[in-house]
Point group: D2
Chain length 133, copies 4
């Protein structure tokens, strides 16, 4: 159900066109099909850095929310760091998010973005606040 | 000219619908009109955190590029941190970006995102690598 | 009293030799006298970057704790980013920390480190978790 | 030789008392024996967060410098993020640093700090600027 909510009922995610390929407690893998409007500039022909940041935040948020036990628990992003490692290409991307801390009040998630898993294009580190009922 | 390039010729920015209101060396103010697809989820009715990250990266990048002196200089984002301070509302936003370091090889920019300047919703801190000809 | 606790009763701060020059709710200014052992390497003759990070965390923590209302409130650092802007010199430093968010559960603080206020050497951005009784 | 320089000739590192246990190109493992003056406060009896930040910066810097090929290459820290995951104890620590990007001008390093490798206490992400001759 969480999968449907994230993919199809959140406007910004729907627009991103993401598909959740895998979802476990504290882990998710998502697939983001390339669209022309994701290009930063024509010269470099790469994904816009801001779109990659958006993907990192989204994947991290899904992994964080996957750990809550009640529909009333509230998760909100505290902050995020994104590091751009290597240039992206104008083709589909994957993002994997893995929880590195599951605290009573704080959740942290690491995200990797790539075309092929051997070459990571960008990494995100996200902090979430969780209010557990 | 830079203004036109950023607003109208970069696909991701064009889709964001941003307007550059002010542009000086090391400073910019941009305006981003609200669209329904920028909503994170219907319950909270707020801008998607990832879109705010995208806006921070975009505003920071414009301020960074405004400092280069040749069309051959190359600027690329090293990393970015975004902090979410207060909840956003489903209405237009502004982002102001101001350079805090202008080095030979590294540029740093601070970004503030707000509806009204008195209440900052999110702040970004961005590092750029610049290759000067 | 908070001043005495921070300056004189916390071993790491005591070793740093810091003096709290100003302390208000959500704001502090501290003074850190130079010591030879703070040098990173002899060639560059600058403060060790790690010591600056330590100063940022300390100043930020004092500003964060200054906002709590009960001795039972518990503040802990979630994360910190430090940006090195310009080279430091082997002489005394100041750090100013100012709260940018005072939430029910999250506090955020910005820190500036400098010899002279006109030239900021490093900036820190710190997130704290607060458990209010 | 690099090992001796880092351990014994840099004042701040010498004071930290670190020992380099392993050093390869793009990787290092360091050992930091506990000292009373590293305690943040007596109540919690934990390492001072700032000292952990200092350790992260130091380990990251060693891994970064290990990749340079000439003694004239210059490496400087651009920025660092540190995340505190779990409470530390008043006993010896290890830090492992691993390069995640080795670019012409930018190096990035991930750091893990722990008592026992199974439980990471803090993670650092560091960006370095390198000027290669």
């Amino acid at each position: 159900m969480l999968k449907t909510v994230f993919q199809d009922q959140m406007p910004a995610n729907k627009h991103l066109g993401l598909k959740i390929e895998d979802l476990e407690v504290g882990y998710t893998k998502i697939y983001i099909p390339f669209k022309d409007e994701f290009i930063g500039d024509f010269f470099q022909n790469r994904w816009h850095g801001g779109i990659l940041a958006s993907i990192a935040d989204t994947a991290g948020g899904i992994a964080a929310v996957s750990t809550v036990e009640s529909i009333e628990d509230k998760v909100s992003t505290i902050d995020m760091r994104i590091d751009y490692l290597y240039g992206s290409e104008p083709r589909d991307l994957y993002a994997e998010a893995e929880m590195i801390k599951n605290g009573k009040r704080i959740i942290k998630v690491d995200v990797k973005i790539y075309h092929e898993k051997e070459k990571i294009i960008a990494v995100g580190r996200c902090a979430y606040s969780v209010l557990r009922k």
